[in-house]
Symmetry: C2
Subunit: 313 residues, 2 copies
Amino acid sequence: MVPTIEDISAAAARLAGVAVRTPLLRCDALDEAVGARVWVKAESLQRGGAFKLRGAYNAIAALAPEARARGVVAYSSGNHAIAVSIAAKLFGVGATIVMPADAPAAKRDAVRANDATVIPFDRVRERREDVAAKASGAGQALIKPFDDAMIVAGQGTIGLEIGAEIAPDIVLTPASGGGLASGLAIALPRARVIAVEPEGHDDIVRSLASGARERNAPGVRSICDGLLSESTGEFTYPIVRARLAGAVAMPDSAVKRAMAFAFRHLKLVLEPSGAIALAAALEGGLELAGACVAVIASGGNVDAAAFAAAIAG
Amino acid sequence: MVPTIEDISAAAARLAGVAVRTPLLRCDALDEAVGARVWVKAESLQRGGAFKLRGAYNAIAALAPEARARGVVAYSSGNHAIAVSIAAKLFGVGATIVMPADAPAAKRDAVRANDATVIPFDRVRERREDVAAKASGAGQALIKPFDDAMIVAGQGTIGLEIGAEIAPDIVLTPASGGGLASGLAIALPRARVIAVEPEGHDDIVRSLASGARERNAPGVRSICDGLLSESTGEFTYPIVRARLAGAVAMPDSAVKRAMAFAFRHLKLVLEPSGAIALAAALEGGLELAGACVAVIASGGNVDAAAFAAAIAG
C-alpha cells in the first residue's frame, strides 16, 4: 500500500521529540545565482547528520515490541546505518549493520559510536541484501533503507515540514532508492518533485524515459557514496514513476562546487550526496526562474579530507 | 541608558522577517563530551553568516529617516561590516566600511558583494575609530560595532530566542567589545553568562579580576579575527562588570579542535571566533556537569584554507 498523507502525519507524531525539525534556510547569494526563491531544507542538521533517522525510527517504532526486542539488522551505504544505530539505541535494542568496506570513515565511526555491530562487505562483488539476510539469521528484523512503506512515510515528514512553511513549486531532491523522493511527492502533491542522481547512476532518469525500472551497472562511478543503489525498489519504483515530475543527473564536479557554495554562503557542511540537489539548482539547466524552489540538503557526513578538497575548489 | 528587556523585545519586532530565527542544535556526542545538556545557538546560519546583523539592523532602523538617507559608516573586523552592508542595502542607503587590511577574504568579499565601499586600515598602526571618523566626514551616521544601546539590544534578541526554547543555567559566549555578552545577560537574567576570549586578548578576564576596564596591548595574537578589539566599550563595560558571571580565555589550539568538533558532529561551518565558546564548553575547565548550557556559535565566515587546516586536526 502506498503511504498516504495520514501515514506521514502518523510518522511525524512518532518523530516528535526524536528527530530535529530542521531549518529551512535561504540566502541572497543563492536566490541571485538561481534566479528564484530558493529554500534549503538542512537535513544535514538532523540527528545523525542526515534525513535517514526519520524513516529508520518510524520503521523500528512500528515493529511489534517482541520483534523489536530481538534487535534489528540493516544494510546501508552509511547514513541509513547511522540512523538505524541511533534508533535502535533509543529503543534499547541491538543493531547489526552491513556496510560497504569503502564507506567513509566518518559514517563507519558514527555507527560504532552508537554501539552497533558493523559487518563490512565488498560493494562490487557482494550483494548487500545477501550479506544482510545472512546476518539476520538470528531473527532480527530487517530495516530496509528505502523499499518499505514505513520508511517512505518517515522520509515524507520532511515534506510536511516544508509545506508548513512554504508552498514550493518545485522540490529538488537527491535520489537513489527512491524512498525520500517518494515521501516528498506524497507529502507535497502540488509541487513538481525532481530527482537528482549522480552521473553514471542515473537509473531514475532512464526509468522515467523508458517507462521500465532501469538498473545501474555494478561499480562505483561517483563521489556521492549515498546514492549508489542498483535501482529504485520494487515498492518505491511505482511511486517514483507515477508521481515524480522529472529527474536529472549531475557530475561530481558540479557536486563539489555545490559543496563549496554551501560552505561559503550557507555555512553548511554537506556531504557529496547531500549537495547534489543544490548542484542541480545551480547548474542543472532546469527551468526555475521565478519559482519557489525547495532544495533537500540531505546529509553532512563527510570525511575532513574530502570536504577540504571540495571547498578548495 | 542600559537597554531593558523591553528594548530587546522592540529590537526583535524590528528584526522579524529580516533576521533568521536561528536553530538551537544539540547532539549526543556534545552532551557526552561535556557531561551536560548543551544547546548550540547556530548564529553562523544568520543572514550574513554571523549574529551581527541583529545589532546593525536595529541601529540603522532606529536612525531618523533623513539621517539614514545620508548613508552609514562603520569600522569592523568583518562580521559587523557584512551586517552593516546588508542592513544598508535593505534600507537602500549607502555604506562605507573601514576594515582591517588583514581581514579574511571571505569577509571582505561579502561586504563588497553588498555594494558597500571598503576602506582598509592597518590593524596595528592605525586606530579604526580615527579612520572611520575621517570617512564619515560627509555626515554619514557611524554604526558602532558594540558600544551602543541599540547594538546591545539587537544582539540581545539571541537571548530572547534561547529563552523561548530552553532555560539555560549557563550561557557561554564569544566576547570582545562586549555587545553580545551584554545583550545576552540582559535578556537572560537568570542565567550565568560567561564571556570567552582568545588567549592574549583576555581583557574581560582581567577586568573582572581587577574591577577596572583593562585593555589589550596592540597586535594580533589569535586566529580569532573577530575578537581582537582593544577593550570592552565605555557603554558595555559597566554592563559586563555588573552582569557577567565570569570569563575564560582559550588558546587557538582549542578553538581549532572546536571547529573540527562542530564540523564532525554538528555539521556546522564555524569561524574561529564563532567556535571559541564551544571550545570553552569542551576544554575550558568550567563546572558544567549536569547543567543546561547554551553555547553561542556566533559566526561562520572563514576562508576555505583556514577551515581545511582546522578540521584536518
